[in-house]
């Protein structure tokens, strides 16, 4: 997919461009908000990755302008400011996700891909399907190879998020933010335990393990 990286720190930008390119994406880099705006107006991007603090036009200003122009391309905000208010300001300006520096590379790629994917599956779905795994969002049921799998409400939400991002890595922080809707450091592997419970329900007794652990990143659901 095509990604526009707007970042004034040359070293950070180089690392980002390289990492995203190696993950198979087509990356363009703009050195500040004003150039970012010009580049965004050319169109054709799937995700904008925008640094919060930049000379000339900063991230908030750029995203506000982009949104005013009717451009709904998903935006991932990068910021060294981790405070709650800063997050709120960023999201209010029109960003779709917010990542605090410093971040793990796997986290950045996972979030960028999640944003692009959300755009692709923008339509209203009632049934999610990943390989032999099928989730009915209306009846709140899950089947694998025709067998019904009984899930707790939170397990259902967890699986729904993984299925919506099937084939992509999702990080533990993303799961805590998107499934539990909490922003804090859980100190221990609480998410791992929930994943392993879910795994025992959807993979146990089947030949293929769908819910995989991605080393250094998080988890991935594969067909």
């Amino acid at each position: 997919m095509r990604i526009l990286v707007v970042e004034d720190d040359a070293e950070a930008a180089t690392a980002m461009v390289r990492g995203l390119t190696e993950a198979g994406h087509d990356v363009t880099h703009a050195v500040d908000g004003a150039f970012g705006l010009l580049e965004a107006q050319k169109g054709g991007y799937d995700v904008y990755v925008v640094d919060r603090m930049m000379p000339r036009l900063d991230g908030v200003g750029m995203v506000e302008t982009v949104r005013k122009g009717g451009d709904q391309t998903p935006v991932l905000f990068l910021s060294a400011l981790g405070e709650v208010e800063d997050r709120v300001t960023g999201l209010k300006a029109g960003a779709d996700d917010y990542l605090v520096k410093p971040y793990a590379f796997a986290e950045l790629i996972a979030r960028v891909e999640a944003l692009a994917r959300r755009r692709e599956t923008g339509g209203v779905l009632t049934v999610l399907k990943v390989g032999e795994l099928e989730m009915n969002l209306i009846a709140r049921t899950v089947h694998r190879e025709g067998q019904e799998i009984d899930l707790q409400p939170r397990e259902f939400q967890l699986l729904e998020f993984l299925m919506r991002h099937a084939g992509q890595s999702v990080t533990r922080t993303m799961l805590l933010e998107k499934v539990w809707e909490y922003h804090f450091d859980p100190q221990t592997n609480v998410i791992d335990v929930h994943i392993s419970r879910l795994r025992s329900k959807i993979d146990k007794g089947f030949e293929k393990a769908m819910l995989q652990t991605v080393r250094g990143a998080g988890y991935r659901l594969e067909a």
């Binding site: 405070e83 709650v84 709120v88 793990a104 804090f184 100190q187 221990t188 592997n189 609480v190 929930h194």
Partner: protein
Amino acid sequence: MRLPSLLRRTPFRLTLLFLALFVAAAGAILAYVYFASASEAQARAQADVQGELNALTAIHRTRGVDALNQALVERTIRGGPYLYLLTGPDGKIVTGNLSVMPFDLKQPRQAGRGEWSTFRLTTTDEDGRVENRRSIGVILPLTGGETLFVGEDIGGIEEYLSRLTQALWGAMALVILLGLAGGLYVSRRVEAAMAGLNRVVQAVQEGDLKQRAPLRHSGDELDELGQGLNIMLDRLETSMASIRHAGDAIAHDLRSPLTRMRAKLEVALIDAEAGKVNGVDALTIALDEADQLLKTFNTVLAIARLQAGGAPDPKVFDAADLAADMAELYEPAAEDKAIDFSAEVEKGLMVEGNQPFLAQALANLIDNAIKYTPAGGAVKLRARRRSSGEIEYSVTDTGPGVPEEDRERVVQRFVRLDNSRTEAGSGLGLSLVTAVAEAHGGRIVLDEGPGAYGDFGPGLRVALVLPPAAN
């Protein structure tokens, strides 16, 4: 103090302004008094003269001009306040105590109609001094062609008024003098009081936060200003100290993991050069250390910010929901460690605060409890309303607990008891909980747990007490 600089001083300028207003007002009142007394005296004299004139015209009307002449002679001899002059139709003086008619009729003479005027009467007193005394009088042409003048010397009034004016000017001068002196005094006093404040401000500008304004405890507004200044400086000093302390704490706590990381990287480098380990493993270790470092750094910053600025972005929410969510999140992790995890949550516990920070605090408490409770133990999370109305989260475990003498210490930064050193952690967990509690106007209370529990105990009960949301 030189005059020009004195003139620039606010209290003195205010004094001058006040003085000017006072002098203007006093002047107006004095002028009113002056004119009112003058016209009052003149009116009274005029009424007296009119009465005398009426008496004389009555004599003339009833008994003729000779009787009038007679009466005038008698009155002149008897003396009295009035001036008389009667002239014949030819203008010659018939009788009276004046040598000339003091003024002429402005209108052609018309019998029975008097004309009033004021004039100056030149007299000589016993000491031979010539005086021009203010007088008032009326000229009345009589029917027989004679002219009657009746008047009164009102020079006494003038003397009175001029004495009054002198007294008034004197009073005015005294007021101005006293006012100026008072202004100077007030100005000096304010100046002296302000000098103390200015000295403190100057010292603070130069970086000395220890200076305090001298207080006179007089309860006036300068004293209040001084008190306000002192309170402000106290706060400033505290937060400066807290920032310095945070800086020291960060430096202290980052030094050891940084040193550790450096050592590991060095060992990895040596090993990699010798071909004993592969570079990827060494880098992975370094990355983990870096992550741990960042976490510590963020926690220290969060504590510093909470202590300096309170809880950011407060919202009213149900503490029960947060407790339920946390129980749901941590229950599997506890179960994995064979710990019996239970939660007892009352409904409707509204608090006002920063939800992410409170979530973090609660997570730290639960995480600690699970970490220090051995397998087979129990951890219980409760959320309830205390009888005082406060909202209390408590986490009770059956681990080894914290000896009473150490409880005070474990909430401090970076303090880890000896038996916990083997566990991962920064030693900031409870400090953050304390900072969160205090930033919300609450507190943290450490107690003994349920006592012996199998081979373990006595356990620990940590309560996070928060004030309830208003309404």
